[in-house]
Assembly symmetry: C2
Homo-oligomer: 355 residues x 2
């Protein structure tokens, strides 16, 4: 059974959901296999074809649908009607049960919660404005993954930006967001946006060195020192695609999950990017532990003091294609995002480099 | 059926647990009724007797045990073996499932999660050091509730403190913590501590005006504008017990729960306390939404700039009865605790007063 997107009780479930009860409503179903993960390193350069664009309305869904995401286990218990359940071995000992009533629409992909309308602002604004407000005058931006369009919406607020490339292999995902989450997919309406339906690694290989001022990677899973992206050439390609002093931002593990191996992560990033490296975090209540981290890395060049943004954004101005002002981010929130609890600070301070 | 404390798989459940599976181990059972809530305004001045001190070992527990906490509803689904479940109507649309393996021991009271060994540092350190580091030279401290001893442990780090009164009606709770959580109950070992087994309101009525430099209220539920404590004389009594410019800290609602009625809360607090009022928050992953708020209020007197602590604490020094240095708090974390996401800041900035 392939990709499925359906909405019931405000929960949009794509592919196999942990809660079948949620996908008995209107169902969009593609011809092909699993949805691709955003930002994953698919080394198959042939995967650049748009193989997810076909879908049709199907009235129901069979019991064949199971969670195929290997590292995510379902809780061994009956379903709870009207609730979405998420339990993953990468965050042991914690399970999420959400009812969409208080979170607006909820998007679920392969059984993993992607975002909710209530708190998507926190993730999208922080992953975008931490890098873009940390450097002066960003002009060329690459987004890898982020097919929902929310990060595009946030990039769109920056008037200095001239070019926004998004590399997203999964057009099914884009279509689902355009249908069910128009306030998020609105990012595609910015005329500076060019969509490249390609695998991220393949796209990076085709990019001229030093092209981008900033690259945002909206990875499916938070990176950790043992993340598969470190095993591949992905980060080297990102670093090569950045101009000297250009910045990358990618979601990283929650400081609450053990082991919080930030030293190793910072070391690996500095080894690859050579410039400034720092770790930030924000609160997102619908994510496990309620917080999510970010790694920010610059290539060798001017010193970048991530904690003190040099390119502030007016919190009251509506700009670009966004329909309202910022909900979560401002310069004070930016600085606070780099302020870690004592236990985490001890781990980072010995390794934060380039500052 | 009365108070029960039992440990199984690292979860200590007291009174009726939402997950009966957790309370089939060793069971402590009292003679009397429900455990009292910390910091609640029991207007019955007769409730000052120590009526929870008797307990005995019981081998098992009957099915009569149900969740009697009126505003907490159980999820209508079968239990999940080995997991603790919490679902409360005061945080609609979100349920917590925790397995103790990754959180250390977990304490559950009347079906509501109270703390875990993994993250108790965040709550205890923030609720203590935000007020005590915001004023100079605190000497006399009152803690209402907080029977676990963790806040006492944190107060103990302050060498200026000469007197620590704790008013906790529930000695059963204290005994449970001393047995199962010695690193938290260690706070009672400070020789400056005097335990008053009394109802908080009754105790406050007996206190001379202007006695305390700081009062910390470890309420069972976070305060909201409609909280029952505002209907009573409780806060007036707290304000009266503080010296001019003295400070109160109490846990307040999460900024993620709607309606986040912080304006109303700040107004009510300022009306009662007359001095500086501000709202802070911290992350606690085992609490619903992953964050919890705090209201800080001073009585009329010297201006208190909560955001910039005047009485910093050395993060590396082990002092008082605590067995290790601070895990979570430092001066930077203090300032960041008052930094709110844009949507919440807009609500607070128009109402933060006295600054």
């Amino acid at each position: 059974m392939g990709n499925i997107a359906a909405e019931k009780n405000g929960v949009v479930a794509s592919s196999a959901s942990a809660n079948k009860d949620l996908i008995n409503g209107k169902i969009l179903i593609t011809k092909n296999g699993n949805l691709s993960s955003n930002g994953e390193t698919n080394t198959d350069d042939q995967s650049t074809e748009d193989h997810h664009h076909d879908y049709a309305i199907a009235p129901s869904i069979s019991a064949e649908i199971i969670d195929k995401k290997e590292h995510c286990n379902q809780l061994d218990h009956p379903e709870i009607e009207g609730w979405f359940a998420e339990h993953c071995s990468i965050w042991p000992g914690q399970a999420h049960f959400l009812k969409s009533s208080s979170y607006g629409k909820v998007f679920v992909l392969d059984g993993a919660l992607q975002l909710t309308e209530r708190d998507e602002c926190a993730y999208q604004e922080i992953i975008t404005h931490l890098p873009l407000c940390s450097i002066s005058n960003p002009k060329k931006i690459l987004l890898i993954g982020g097919g929902d369009g929310g990060i595009l919406r946030e990039i769109s607020r920056h008037s200095s930006v001239e070019q926004i490339d998004i590399c997203e292999i999964d057009t099914m995902l884009i279509n689902v967001y355009k249908e069910f989450f128009p306030d998020i997919a609105v990012g595609y309406e910015d005329s500076r946006v060019t969509l490249h339906v390609r695998d991220g690694t393949a796209f990076l290989k085709s990019v001229e060195s030093g092209t981008y001022d900033a690259i945002i990677v909206d990875a499916f899973d938070p990176i950790r020192p043992e993340h598969e992206l470190f095993e591949s050439s992905f980060f080297e390609l990102v670093a090569k695609a950045l101009r000297p002093g250009g910045v990358m931002c990618i979601q990283a593990e929650s400081l609450w999950f053990q082991p919080f191996n930030i030293q190793n992560l910072v070391s690996k990033c500095h080894h690859i990017f050579k410039g400034s490296v720092n770790y930030a975090w924000t609160i997102v209540p619908s994510y496990p532990s309620g917080v999510i981290g970010f790694m920010l890395c610059t290539t060798e060049g001017s010193f970048v003091d991530f904690k003190h943004p040099v390119n502030p954004i007016d919190p009251n101005r509506i700009s670009g294609v966004a329909k309202g002002p910022l909900k979560f981010y401002d310069s004070e929130v930016h600085s606070a995002a780099f302020c870690l609890p004592a236990f985490a600070k001890k781990a980072v301070d010995t390794k934060v480099v380039g500052q």
